[in-house]
């Protein structure tokens, strides 16, 4: 019985680690991707902010009761 839990944990964690590492190997084969951004084409020094406002709107406080310990409830 003392081996059951360590074996189960080892199988699950082992599968996850093997999946992550082999996914990395698969990714090595793919070098073609569609470009979705143009960050490298932003003219140096051209980005300028003309308005920067952080407006506080409101505050909301949620209060939830803590569960009472069982002993207190029984008394």
């Amino acid at each position: 019985m003392e081996f059951v839990y360590p074996i189960l944990i080892a199988i699950v964690v082992g599968l996850i680690i093997a999946f992550v590492l082999t996914s990395g190997l698969r990714a090595e084969l793919k070098s073609v991707h569609q470009a979705t951004q143009a960050n490298i084409y932003i003219k140096q020094g051209s980005f300028k902010l003309s308005n920067e406002q952080d407006l506080y709107i409101c505050t909301k406080v949620d209060k939830t009761a803590k569960p009472k310990p069982q002993q207190q409830q029984q008394r």
Binding site: G14, S46, I57, V61, K66
Partner: protein, 360 residues
């Protein structure tokens, strides 16, 4: 003037003025709002302008009789490609599909390219880059790299549209700061709501979008970037020894791809200025292009075609920088071998650690 309706950031309900407290209040969740904050928000919303992604029209240059002297045009009956080259360059196979191409009687040009980036790297550099591309790929089938015979290595000038534009943007974010604490009886969660406004501008230079239907968009995108500071005015002499594809995707058809990239990068750039919040949600973004213009250019690519197991593989090398890309096949047997190896090693290590911890 239309009535401005305010929405409660906490619950989304319409908020209204409560005369007894002299403040705006949400009738659904009872959150109260400072009038001053809403006044600032009002002013900011008034300034917002509609989005506009329009580009200036492009005249382009026509071919002169002098330009066309010494040029030859070929037609591929298989994929429809029209290829241009110097009369002295022998072209027999289509660089895109590998089928034989035939010389056309006369050269009917569309537009003359504004610029060209000449080839800096030769065919041998492309072949060396391919060998290097195979190295270190542990899941690549051994037979693919050892038996691989590249059918054709062709230097092609691929037509591109280069987009230049300024962009003005107004972006509004809904942000929160969250604080939690507890006392003996309750857990508390305080959420502070903010409307964050950012306006500004930035400029984009030389965003390339390929203008050839035969070239896969993702392959062309992956070969970026180019050093556009090295671009030259177009001269027919640069085509000697290489093929040049004529554009068959108009600038109007290509503009959408440039717009998407500009929009995404503008949003990302402005987002980087919104800091110190626990959550940030974009509520509204207006991006307006300014002085948008484009040019027609030819960019140098080495295209390498090969087939393996009935599948076609296309590799490309940037003829200026040497960047090499191309997806490779996977050996499923190797994949499972590595999966099993990693699984066994990880499982043994995890088992030992778990056993020692549980039986302390």
């Amino acid at each position: 003037m239309g009535l401005q309706e305010y929405r409660c950031p906490c619950c989304g309900g319409s908020i209204e003025f409560n005369s007894s407290i002299g403040k705006m209040k949400c009738p659904f969740c009872d959150t109260e709002f400072e009038m001053e904050s809403l006044k600032d928000l009002d002013q900011a919303l008034d300034k917002e302008e509609p989005e506009s992604m329009t580009w200036n029209s492009y005249e382009g240059q026509s071919w002169s009789g002098e330009d066309m002297t010494g040029m030859a045009a070929y037609h591929c009956k298989s994929c429809g490609a029209e290829i241009v080259t110097a009369e002295t360059t022998a072209a027999s196979a289509c660089p895109f599909c590998g089928n034989p191409i035939v010389m056309m009687n006369n050269f009917a040009g569309n537009l003359k390219p504004d610029f060209i980036i000449p080839f800096k790297l030769d065919k041998n550099a492309a072949k060396e880059a391919l060998t290097k591309h195979f190295q270190g790929k542990r899941l690549l089938p051994s037979a693919f790299s050892s038996q691989n015979h590249i059918d054709e290595v062709t230097g092609v000038y691929v037509p591109f549209w280069l987009f230049n534009s300024g962009a003005d943007a107004d972006i509004r974010y809904k942000c929160t700061k969250v604080r939690r604490w507890s006392d003996a009886d309750y857990n508390y969660k305080e959420t502070k709501y903010y409307t964050v406004l950012r306006s500004g501008s930035l400029a984009f230079e030389n965003i390339p979008v390929d203008a050839s239907k035969k070239m896969a968009d993702d392959l062309m995108d992956s070969l970026e970037p180019f050093k556009f500071e090295e671009k030259k005015d177009f001269m027919t002499a640069y085509l000697s020894g290489y093929l040049a594809d004529k554009y068959d995707v108009s600038a109007d058809e290509s503009v959408e791809r440039a717009n998407v990239r500009i929009k995404n990068s503008t949003i990302q750039q402005f987002r980087s200025t919104v800091k110190d919040y626990d959550t940030v949600e974009t509520e509204n973004s207006n991006i307006r292009l300014r002085d948008g213009s484009y040019k027609y250019v030819l960019l140098p690519m080495w295209i390498l075609n090969t087939s393996w197991n009935g599948q076609k593989f296309v590799f490309g090398m940037n003829g200026q920088t040497g960047k090499f890309v191309g997806d490779l096949p996977m050996d499923k047997g190797k994949f499972w071998k590595y999966f099993l190896l990693y699984f066994v090693i990880a499982a043994v290590i995890v088992f030992i650690i778990a056993y020692l911890l549980m039986n302390k």
